[in-house]
Structure formats: structure tokens, C-alpha cells
């Protein structure tokens, strides 16, 4: 697997560990550029997944792991389209991002999200595809989508429900509040907490440990314990598309994009 450095991502493989790094300014917002490179990453990494033993996803941006979907791109593209075409465009994006997220979720190697700082919306959803989340002590997790009149669209709700249960989903989804790493670890979301800037180092140490285990056994264990919530993921796409043309969504997106408020990241 050749090392790669693109507009939004970079990746390389060393000693059986694939490292995927989010590198897009300002805080790894996931739009068409990131999605295209994620698809490219899958195309190049999937052939070596059976020989690698771990995948680590991290961010090189000091602000955090990922602030979520690129709302500016979403709003600006939507403004140029009629309502029916808006939904078609969003559905196409969601189908593509779900394919990427589902592939990472079910990858036959152990996946680790090494997170820090802002891990919001689609960024939180990306972390939730991973088998383990290792977080530095300044990490905050949040589903802010309700303030836009939407639900999370990258598969986060079904995955969080699968992993932690409905009560945790309701708390985060319906309040839109962000939680710190102590809370996240207390509910079982985070497996290890590190000092500031320490998540990637600990993720690498963990990945090294995973390399001691038989790959087929680890892969079989993962398949057994981590089923993809397929039906709920499909319903999520339908619900998101139903909601997307409502006036509240356009108003919410416009408010975010045009905001000069000091607190656009707070509910």
C-alpha cells in the first residue's frame, strides 16, 4: 500500500498498521473532497486489510478530530438546486458516505479512532465506526444536528445505539449537548483516556498489542460481536432525506453558515 497525501487525507502503512489521518482545514469538515479521498482510501487499503492487523484513524488538526459535515458546502450546493434535486444530491452523498462508513465498521481488522478536541456530528459518527475509541482528555463528543432541524446522517445513531443503548443516544441526540471524555468513558464510549496530545501514541501501542493475536480469530470475534445495524442505517437515510427539504433545515443551515455568533459550536 503506497503512502498518500491528498487535500483532505493522508495514509500510510507500517508494520501491519494502516494509519489514516484527517488533514483538512479548519477542522476536517467532511464534504465532497474528503468523501472522494475516503473512497480512494478504501479502494487502496481493502486489498491489504486481510494482512494488516489494525487501522488507526486520527487527525493532524490541533482543533480536534473532526467538526462534522461540511455545512457550508452542503448549504451552498443546495442553494443552487431545486428541492427535488437537493434531495437527490443529498441522497447520493449519504449513500456514498454510508458505504465508506459501513466498510470501515465491518473491516476484517481492528480499527481504532484516536481522537482529541472537537469530535462532533459526522466526526463523532466516523469515530463510532471504529472498534475502539482512544481519546485525549480534552476531547468533546456531540451530536449537534437537531439545531439544524436534522438528525445525524452518517450512521451515528444506529451505531451508538448498537454499542451503548438507546438512553445514551437520546441524551446526546435530543439535548445536542457535548460531553467530555470522563462522561464518555463512564458510559462506555471511550476505551482509554490519555493526556493531552497522547491519543495517537496510545493507539499505536494498542495496535502493536493487537498484532500479537491471530488475525483470523480476531476477525471472527469482531464479526460475531459487531453486527452492522443495516435496517436502521437504511431508515436513517430515508428519514434524513424526508427532513432535508423542510424550511427549518434551510433556516438552520443558513444561520450556521452566516453566523457571526461567538458560539456557533454551542447549542
Amino acid at each position: 500500500m503506497k503512502p498518500f497525501r491528498g487535500k483532505a487525507l493522508s495514509w500510510h502503512m507500517s508494520e501491519g498498521v494502516i494509519e489514516l489521518v484527517l488533514e483538512r482545514e479548519p477542522c476536517n469538515e467532511i464534504g465532497s473532497a474528503t468523501l472522494t479521498e475516503l473512497e480512494q482510501f478504501l479502494g487502496e487499503s481493502e486489498p491489504v486489510w486481510k494482512t494488516a492487523h489494525a487501522l488507526i484513524i486520527s487527525s493532524s488538526r490541533k482543533e480536534g478530530f473532526c467538526a462534522g459535515a461540511d455545512l457550508r458546502e452542503l448549504y451552498e450546493r443546495s442553494q443552487k438546486l431545486a428541492p427535488a434535486a437537493r434531495v437527490a444530491g443529498v441522497r447520493d452523498f449519504l449513500e456514498r458516505i454510508h458505504r465508506v462508513m459501513n466498510a470501515i465498521d465491518t473491516a476484517p481488522l481492528t480499527t481504532i479512532a484516536a481522537v482529541h478536541g472537537v469530535t462532533f456530528g459526522g466526526g463523532f459518527e466516523l469515530a463510532l465506526t471504529c472498534d475502539l475509541i482512544i481519546a485525549d482528555k480534552m476531547t468533546r463528543f456531540c451530536f449537534p444536528e437537531l439545531r439544524l432541524g436534522l438528525i445525524p446522517g452518517f450512521g451515528g445513531i444506529p451505531r451508538l445505539k448498537r454499542d451503548l443503548g438507546n438512553a445514551v443516544v437520546r441524551d446526546l441526540l435530543l439535548t445536542g449537548r457535548s460531553i467530555n471524555v470522563e462522561k464518555a468513558q463512564s458510559v462506555g464510549l471511550v476505551s482509554q483516556v490519555t493526556g493531552e496530545g497522547g491519543a495517537l501514541r496510545v493507539a499505536r501501542a494498542t495496535a502493536s498489542q493487537l498484532g500479537k493475536f491471530d488475525r483470523e480469530t480476531a476477525s471472527a470475534a469482531k464479526r460475531f460481536i459487531k453486527p452492522l445495524p443495516h435496517d436502521e442505517l437504511r431508515r436513517e437515510i430515508e428519514l434524513f432525506c424526508e427532513m432535508f427539504t423542510r424550511p427549518a433545515v434551510e433556516a438552520g443551515l443558513r444561520k450556521f453558515v452566516e453566523s457571526t455568533d461567538a458560539l456557533p459550536y454551542l447549542p
Partner: protein, 83 residues
């Protein structure tokens, strides 16, 4: 955290915390200052401050409770209600 903690002492602890982390001398910070302006921080850095406050006071402070809060004294009141 002691039940005897007063609003004044909580405010003072926040000012010390903000001074230490954001590099603004303590004597240049007052309870009624707008912390966004005085510390020169944006919303992402405000979340950073919130995390440090939660860790320092061993509390959970939902970020919606900070909506509309811009001065250290009001921030201290929100914290005080969680101690």
C-alpha cells in the same frame, strides 16, 4: 469540592484557570469581563475552557447552560449551581 465554596472563590478559581491556560495575566482579568474578548477566544476555544472547568471543579456543565454567558461572574454562578 467544599460546600463552603463561595461565588467569589469560584470566580477567582476560573480567573486563575483562564489566566494560566490562555496566557493573559491574572491582574488583567476581572469578574465582569467578557471572556471571549478578554481571552481572545473563539467558540472552539470556549469548549476547551469548558472542558478545563469541568475537570477542575469535577462537575458536568452542559454547554447549553453557557448560552448567552459571556462574563466570568455569570459563568461562576453556573458552576456554583453544580457544586
Amino acid at each position: 469540592m467544599s460546600r463552603m465554596t463561595t461565588l467569589e472563590s469560584t470566580t477567582d478559581e476560573i480567573l486563575k484557570l483562564a489566566s494560566a491556560h490562555f496566557g493573559v495575566p491574572r491582574d488583567q482579568l476581572g469578574p465582569d469581563d467578557d471572556f471571549f474578548r478578554k481571552l481572545g477566544i473563539n467558540s472552539l476555544q470556549a469548549l476547551d475552557l469548558l472542558t478545563r472547568i469541568e475537570q477542575h471543579f469535577h462537575i458536568e456543565l452542559p454547554d447549553y447552560e453557557l448560552q448567552g454567558v459571556t462574563d466570568f461572574r455569570t459563568l461562576a454562578e453556573r458552576i456554583q449551581s453544580r457544586l
